[in-house]
Assembly symmetry: C2
Homo-oligomer: 201 residues x 2
Amino acid sequence: LEDYILVDIGNTHFHVLDKKIYSTKEIKSFKKRVFYISVNKEKEKLLLQKNPDAINLEPFIKIDTNYQGLGVDRKCAILAIDDGVVVDAGSAVTIDVVKNGKHLGGLIMPGIYSFKKAFCEISQVLDKDFTSLKKYPQNTSEAITAGSIGAIVCMIKSLGGESRVYLTGGDAELLSKYIDGEVVKNLVFEGMKKVIFNLKF
Amino acid sequence: LEDYILVDIGNTHFHVLDKKIYSTKEIKSFKKRVFYISVNKEKEKLLLQKNPDAINLEPFIKIDTNYQGLGVDRKCAILAIDDGVVVDAGSAVTIDVVKNGKHLGGLIMPGIYSFKKAFCEISQVLDKDFTSLKKYPQNTSEAITAGSIGAIVCMIKSLGGESRVYLTGGDAELLSKYIDGEVVKNLVFEGMKKVIFNLKF
């Protein structure tokens, strides 16, 4: 079982883990056993066309939660930790709280790119780069940074209090500039591995 | 000077105040003196085509602030109060803090409609109605409500602390269901009136 490939199909990208090497790429036929999870039916079809034997891990995932309709990628990231706040910053930003292995709940915000797009669509005046976080912003850049990244930070603190923060997803590095947290690029894959190790072959 | 019309041109709508009657409508030729402010050049042209004598109040507005590039509608709303937090929930949500007549700073978030659009564009799974605010959301509706309206509430508290909250703009009523605050539909117009009363004719 050593030689396998993990695929996490997101709304926007295929995330692939092959021998600890993480990549985001279009999908091909892999030579190894493929385990995957998916939140996107169309992209899942593409994977299965090229890898008909790929195994969907979703039915094997058990989470201690009262949350209805938790995305499978969130489930895996939650599985990877016992205590703390999981922030997955991709197309959306999801924030989930885990205490003693139990998932207490979580929320969904637009992703960083989504915020930027929203600002641009509202007015070209708001088409500015993000800058540093200020409590009392004094110009448009500071104002939109506070109103997007600042709002994400606000909700992380609101949900997680003083809990440890784990940042994953494409914008994890960016968010880590604004909040104390550990960037764990492979958090979802770590959860998928836990599921695989509990499978009976 | 009693018989005049106030027009606040936003990014999306013309807001008109005529004898204390507030309306949002397409613009026409008014019989009375028109005073206006505008954050949208194109819509401003339409107003001036039909009302060539309309007076732009922007040059006459003086605000005590260090903020660079404050939108004229925000300036007017700020002028209308001496202490508190002004939340203008329109295409964007702006949150501004005023203390003893001085503007301390403010931020800009996507408007409610913008959040909804962003969620729908990320995934059709997120195309849900808003519901009540929960600290630990337990389903998708609660998760996106917390991640948008909850984030707005979080930032209002972060900026304003215990200060009085004034809600204005098209989504003021909606927000008032989620936060203690006074809905003042005509806040921007109140500021415009203050400017007019200080004009020398």
